[in-house]
């Protein structure tokens, strides 16, 4: 009850604040110095550490001062939208790459095609294709990948060996056998894999591994009742039916690392941030008993999600040239390596991966392999909501309320309703 009230107060408050900041910065640039101030918004952990990279940038570009503002992830989306409405966006910004379609729909992002064409540092061919593609809308390139986040398999080597497997599964077939064997070894009360029932990423990755698309090509209709997605959902649901996975919300697991250490589950689908966490938090006696592996696919190594964050320049930017110089600086190999050391974030291009810090990390290897097979999600602003609906439908199937057939049909209807506005806009654009 109070939270909503807080939100309602915060929204105009934030607009006010953003407006205030604009005034403030107008004031701070006005003195007769010829230094230009570049406004840069970054989120979460990256926002905390990126300012450590700024002195070097300012040394190389004496005319530019970077004003880094850190936003918490939980408030970032609201803040960006209110800043857009208040015309108070910064010059350059970190943006989750699934948000790019949304800000493209707002026409808030400056295309970077020609900047990249002339750049000696940002080389499109060096980037992992799936990640790069999340930044394009039609022909326009709207962001430069900063770091990537894909999902791979974290697994317990010792428990897998005890179940009779000396290597991680590479295909669904092998995976099923491994899951069944691990579960048999673990016995009742323990499981083979943890798939939090309120997280859409695992099912999404399985869906992306299929040949068929999740939405129609124009992004106007859902394609979830296609055989392709149904196969993914079937497989996902089977893991619960067979008792390989517990039907649990993420919040019901008190501590993922401890439970992984106790062998409550042996497989876990997660992202790069967990490399450091597992290194740090696994119980000492199991410190070397875990490893990462690329996600198994229907037949052989499969695709996974292409998440992460990009650097974008807003159309309203006052200093687009300086902004581009900052993006180039942050994209250069040496800064990417330093950035990895500071945050543990994985670079979106291949060159930094040759650095010993990354090429020597056994846990990162699976990610490098997986990144070559990362696939973007459909690029519509409504995507996050659609992924949410997908997970709710899956949760209902797992709970036994409806079957896969019904679920996918209902899901398509829901998705078509969500995309109604988009279809209307596309039809209008065509008729003009």
């Amino acid at each position: 009850m109070d939270r909503l009230r807080a939100v309602l107060h915060v929204v105009p408050g934030m607009a006010f604040l953003a407006g205030g900041l604009l005034l403030l910065c107008a004031a701070c640039t006005s003195p007769a110095t010829d230094k230009q101030t570049l406004r840069f918004w970054a989120m979460g952990r990256e926002g905390e550490v990126v300012s450590q990279l700024m002195p070097e940038f300012e040394r190389r570009n004496p005319g530019i001062h970077v004003d880094v503002q850190q936003l918490p992830w939980t408030a970032a989306h609201e803040k960006l939208l209110t800043a857009f409405a208040a015309d108070a966006l910064p010059d350059v910004c970190q943006l989750g790459n699934t948000w790019i379609p949304e800000f493209a729909a707002l026409d808030a992002l400056a295309p970077l095609n020609s900047a990249v064409a002339h750049s000696k540092i940002v080389d499109a061919a060096d980037y992992f294709p799936g990640i790069w593609e999340t930044n394009t809308i039609g022909p326009a390139l709207l962001g430069i990948p900063w770091y990537v986040d894909t999902r791979v398999l974290f697994y317990r080597k010792d428990l897998l060996a005890r179940a009779g497997f000396d290597h991680p599964p590479r295909s669904w077939n092998e995976w099923e056998q491994a899951l069944a064997a691990v579960k048999r070894e673990a016995g009742p009360g323990k499981y083979a894999i943890l798939l939090p029932i309120n997280e859409f990423e695992p099912l999404l990755a399985l869906g992306l591994q299929q040949r068929g698309p999740l939405l129609s090509d124009d992004g106007g209709h859902g394609r979830f009742s296609s055989p392709a997605f149904r196969r993914a959902l079937d497989f996902y649901v089977r893991m619960f039916r067979e008792q390989w996975a517990p039907s649990m919300q993420a919040g019901a697991i008190s501590n993922v690392w401890t439970e992984f250490g106790r062998g409550y589950f042996s497989f876990y689908i997660s992202g790069p941030w967990n490399i450091e966490e597992f290194k740090r938090r696994m119980p000492p006696e199991h410190r070397d008993d875990w490893m990462t592996a690329p996600l198994p696919g229907p037949d052989g190594p499969g695709a996974s999600t292409a998440g992460g964050a990009s650097l974008v320049i807003f159309r309203s930017a006052k200093r687009p040239d300086a902004a581009w110089r900052l993006i180039e600086y942050l994209s250069s190999t040496e800064v990417q390596v330093r950035f990895h050391a500071l945050t543990g974030d994985l670079p979106p291009r291949r060159d930094p991966w040759r650095d010993p810090a990354l090429s020597g990390d056994v846990y990162a290897k699976a990610f490098l392999d997986q990144l070559e097979r990362a696939r973007p999600t459909p690029k519509v602003p409504e995507w996050e909501r659609i992924a949410n609906e997908m997970q709710l439908a899956a949760e209902q199937v797992v709970a036994g309320k409806i079957d896969v057939d019904q679920a996918t049909r209902v899901l398509d209807t829901r998705v078509d309703t969500i995309l109604e506005k988009r279809r209307w806009m596309m039809a209008r654009a065509k008729s003009q």
């Binding site: 939270r3 939100v7 729909a105 707002l106 026409d107 919040g251 602003p381 949760e395």
Partner: protein, 292 residues
């Protein structure tokens, strides 16, 4: 009655503030509810459509809205009587001449009201954890199988009700206690001389005197409980299987998560009408009773 200019000058500041920060937003919210304002409309007003009552019709055809409404009514129907009953019970106990350490208990029972819900929710999540939680541990001592309090759709709402009741009953308790303390002792003395049992004293003296306060507390609590939001937000995020989505939570998701302000405003207007009707009904019902 005509107000002189001076009077207008005196009320102007307050009127202005209420107008700008209350009346205008309410009108704007109502106006939004007949449009399909969303992220596209934020880009350009050309993308804004006037949809009349379509939002209302769509919403009434949305299963999740009905589920949210059902969840909210469940919460109100169980939570309000439970909450007021507990408040009344505790107020009577605290007021009893037999009670020791009254001021200590008064403070202790009021404490949940002033603690931060987010902090409380963290502790509750631990208490109600399925495998390691203290609640299930205690149940196990009594031979009861562990219950998945927050993960089972049948138990999630009762857990939320428990949290809300525990968190809120102290407030009403203090109001009722204050009222109890105004009842003169000689009424009870007279009743005792006439041979009234303690139960009769409660039924014939205490409750009738408390009635206006109880009605007030009831209306305030009902209106507040209809706006259930923070508890599911911090404890379950609407899950499992949407069993803890309240109307306000539904509205929050539509508006602030998916930026469909049209639909969110529609839900807000409907919730307002519902609360208005129910509290109005309560007030009228009690008014008729008082007259009878």
């Amino acid at each position: 009655m005509r107000l002189p200019a001076a009077a207008w000058a005196f009320v102007a500041p307050a009127t202005l503030v209420v107008g700008v920060f209350f009346v205008l937003p309410v009108l704007a919210g109502f106006a939004l509810s007949v449009t399909d304002f969303d992220i596209y409309s934020l880009a350009s007003l050309r993308n804004l459509r006037f949809v009349g009552i379509d939002n209302y019709l769509d919403l009434l055809g949305t299963p999740l809205f009905w589920q949210a409404l059902g969840n909210t009514l469940y919460f109100v129907a169980v939570g309000v009587p439970l909450s007021i009953g507990l408040s009344l019970g505790c107020a009577l106990l605290l007021h009893s001449r037999l009670a020791r350490f009254q001021s200590f208990f008064r403070t202790a029972l009021f404490a949940p009201v002033v603690t931060t819900l987010v902090a409380v929710a963290v502790v509750w999540r631990y208490l109600f954890q399925t495998r390691y939680g203290m609640v299930n541990h205690a149940l196990a001592q009594a031979g009861i199988d562990p219950i998945d309090w927050l993960g089972d759709p049948h138990y999630a709402m009762p857990t939320i009700i428990l949290l809300a009741v525990w968190k809120n009953f102290g407030y009403n308790m203090v109001i009722l206690l204050a009222n109890l303390q105004t009842i003169p002792d000689d009424i009870y003395a007279a009743a005792r001389i006439d041979g009234a049992s303690p139960l009769q004293q409660l039924w014939r003296i205490t409750l009738p005197i408390l009635q206006p306060t109880l009605i007030l507390v009831g209306i305030l609590t009902t209106a507040g409980y209809f706006q259930l939001f923070a508890e599911p937000y911090v404890l379950t995020q609407g899950g499992p299987l949407r069993s803890t989505v309240s109307v306000l939570y539904f509205m929050y998701e539509e508006g602030f998560k998916w930026w469909n302000f049209g639909t969110a405003s529609t839900a807000a207007v409907l919730l307002f009408l519902l609360i208005f009707a129910v509290t109005r009904g309560l007030a009228r019902l009690s008014g008729r009773e008082a007259a009878a």
